[in-house]
Amino acid sequence: MAESPRGAGIHCLIVTPEATILDVVSRSVVLPLEDGQRGVGRSHAPFIGRLGAGEVRITTADGAEAGHRVFVDGGFVEVGHDVVTVITQRAVPAAKLDLAEARAALAEISGRPAVGADALKSKLRSQRAARELVRVAGRVR
């Protein structure tokens, strides 16, 4: 997978343990890295990054911004040779998210007690992810 198979554009893959859920050629990709978003255009320098929770926004080759928006919950991204590979344990297309469900999940996590530093850390982490999920789900409508 050294080069983009279809020539122009960035080859973007989103891979989860169960399947490859997206495999498209795009113009640009915005990635939710752990410490903020990062845009990737053509001929970007190769990097490997850790992802936080958030949405991957893909502008398709014909320039449609609404092309693909996918919520990912952590994971990694590898960028190189105009190939962007997102590896995550959970990826849901934004159109399939349910706002009410996301809100309920956030409320449930927020209400959960956390004792000890580790539990608190993991609670804050899942809370952040749930909040991000609500935000992404809310933007769809």
Partner: protein, 291 residues
């Protein structure tokens, strides 16, 4: 007449069994195809993870992480993956045998064990042999989902990090191909250290930047790769079970066919000899009337 009728009745019941086994074979074939597709779809994830891991190992130099550390095993965990149902040849038995061998070895090394079993068949078999089972799972059928496997994996990671277990082995049936599956015990924790990506594939321009740092990525990557390997065990077990059932049911259907052929021959012979006997009786009667 009685013998012929009994043979006919047996032949009918064997025919019914053959119908059932043939249907089971067809179902197993369909499920196998689906399970296989899932397994193939999951391969991408593992390949990509391995690629990143290789790149980090190549760039980052020495890789140190608690998950890679080999500690003297005082307490070990064993996860046994079997099926919920039988009628699949030696599938469950082989895995149970593997598990018992591993437990025996640990016992002789005085390692405390913590056994978890997935699948009703494995649970009953191990309970029968007096193995204490810590947790049981019966929810995994032919389509194990990552969302269901993840909590199990996370629990193992947590207990491993807390030092409650020093090693984790999984006894399952590895799928090599449709013609070969074998029951194995594989050590998942501590993880095998990542191999540096081969120099031949690596180009000069492949010097990756890491955000935020190679160490931080590794911290997340190693648990993810453990999860992927655990998930692969579940997928392999599911595919192998369907193959085993397919093969077993095919053999059963063929056997039933042979049995029916034999029974038919016996039945025809019995009927013929009965007819012959009746004709002889009639002839005897006619001869008697003539006199």
């Amino acid at each position: 007449m009685a013998k012929a009728r009994a043979l006919d009745r047996r032949r009918k019941s064997v025919r019914n069994i053959r119908k059932i086994t043939r249907t089971m074979e067809l179902i197993a074939t369909a499920r196998f195809k689906k399970a296989m597709d899932r397994s193939v779809a999951a391969r991408d994830y593992t390949t990509q993870l391995a690629k990143i891991l290789g790149n980090i190992a190549a760039v980052g130099g020495d890789v140190a992480h608690p998950l890679l550390e080999i500690r003297p095993a005082k307490r070990a965990a064993l996860l046994v993956l079997t099926g919920n149902r039988g009628l699949c040849g030696g599938y469950n038995g082989n895995v149970v045998r593997q598990a018992l061998a591993m437990l025996g070895q640990w016992k002789s090394e005085r390692v405390a064990t913590d056994v978890s079993v997935s699948g009703k068949r494995g649970i009953t078999a191990l309970r029968f042999r007096g193995v204490e089972i810590a947790s049981r799972y019966t929810a995994f059928e032919d389509k194990p989902e990552f969302a269901a496997v993840a909590p199990i994996g996370r629990a193992y990671l947590d207990t491993y990090a807390a030092g409650e277990i020093d090693r984790l082995d999984v006894a399952y049936t590895r799928f090599h191909g449709i013609a070969k599956q074998e029951a194995v015990t594989e050590t998942l924790l501590p993880l095998a250290p990542p191999q540096a990506a081969g120099k031949t594939v690596k180009l000069a321009s492949d010097d990756y930047d890491f955000y935020p740092s190679a160490g931080s990525i590794l911290e997340e990557l190693l648990p993810a790769s453990f999860m992927a390997r655990l998930f692969k065990c579940f997928l392999d077990a599911a595919v192998s079970e369907q193959v085993a059932r397919m093969v077993a049911m095919k053999a059963a259907t063929e056997n039933a066919g042979g049995l029916i052929k034999n029974l038919s021959r016996q039945y025809n012979r019995a009927r013929q000899s009965q007819i012959t006997g009746e004709i002889m009786e009639i002839l005897g009667g006619v001869e008697a009337l003539k006199q």
